[in-house]
Amino acid sequence: MFDMNWVMRNADDILGLLRDHLTLSFIPILLGLMLAIPIGVACVRWAWIYPIALAMSTAFFAIPSIALFVFMLPYTGLSQLTAIIPLTLYTVSLLVRNVVDGIRSTDDSVRQAAAAMGYGGIHRLVSVELPIAAPVILGGLRIATVANIGMVAVVSVMGLSSLGDLFVDGTQRFFLTPILVGIVLTTALAVVADLVLVAVQRRLTPWSQAGRNR
């Protein structure tokens, strides 16, 4: 049922698809994170924004990805932007809650101590509140990354290059091999990305490993 020959013959093409899939997965994650942090900070600073932002993110995240890609088509054509913009917005929708909750999870006493030590607004944000928020933000980032890697495959339905091409080809020809290769590669990509982020999280927040007794 599995044609190893096909895999060997098409290895180059498959690697090309993998590379495109990587690009389409990681750029939105990074951009999403960079956008989510300021938005989250704004929601903490001006608390009335938060419910609105929350409602908008839920509604937005519910919009099926294929619809957004189709919507972008007339504006961005067949370029990678058609995928990157919606995926970035999805990531932002996922992460805003985490940024806000993460920043808010700083104990008041810690905040006051920081103020007492002379840490003003931004300085306190960067040196105290964000590091404390880091585990929660990174946790959300892990989920957003895995979700993104899965969603990217959908762009192949429209003709952009990704590992999803393997699913489309396999379906059209009733051919199991490309589909299996696509599933294995996509899953492996997601698992590896998740592990990398776990490692990053451990490095960035050594204090969260202290007292690991349960």
């Binding site: 096909w6 090309g16 690009t23 189709v70 088509l73 370029s79 990678q80 192949s156 059209q172 960035l204």
Partner: protein
Amino acid sequence: MNITSGLKLGSALAIASLTLSACASSDPLNTPAGNASGETIVVGSANFPENVILGEVYAQALEQAGFKIERKLNIGAREVLFDQIKNCTLNVVPEYNQALLAFVSPETKAKGTTEVDEALAKVLPEDLKVLKSSAAQDNNAVVVTADTAAKNNIKTLDDLAGKAPEWTFGGPTEWESRPDGYLGLQNNYGLNFKEYKVLDYSGPITISALDKGDIQAGLLFSTTPQIKSSGYVVLEDPKDSLGVNNITPLLCAKAVPDKARSILDSISSSLSTEELTAMNASYVLDKEDAADVAATWLKDQDIK
């Protein structure tokens, strides 16, 4: 690790992925607007098997003649395909004359290869051009399973009239309202099915639905290899409701020099419907690679 090294790590990751994207095959911000100097010709195709094969055939033949070719096969939506050739991001696309005409000019009444080609030449935008159609056709075909045909003695579209109200028809989404499509069946043969089920474009969904009996009649493209392999019966169309659909190269005129055009013409005149169906069978049923299927066919031709 403190927040400073965290930031460093973050920026390193950012730079790494942006570099990665710069090395990626498609530039996210800039799609080249085609090639007026005629250096690289971009061959595109839609994302169904036959069109991918045709794209490969064009690409390889042009490569053998010395042109530099970039392939963008497997483009999903017809919208996108047409827009991309209109703005010359794609330079050559294997098209189907009647389907293309119906897409560009839905109210058209043209019938038959000559009329359709003439109408096309008139309605296409300035920069686009179609070459002479091939005799090879991939037409719309209304099929029933061998069983259904035998049990109900159905050979032509007329024969469907009696059973239609009890049966379900399966076809692609926009075919339902086309005058050369389902609308034509209703007008010309009085066929009014119980339901028109929207499935796919002669793909696995329509074929599965036929096999499982979810639909009793369906729209398949005439070169679909499963027609022969599963023994589906293509119903005759005495009133010519379904029309023609010749393989016709569509060009962004300024990007395709004369020498390339004559190669494409040569392909068109060498291609036959049987050969096209055979290539589909190799690709879809035998799981050969599109490039190999195209190369095998080209080897036997004399394309200049």
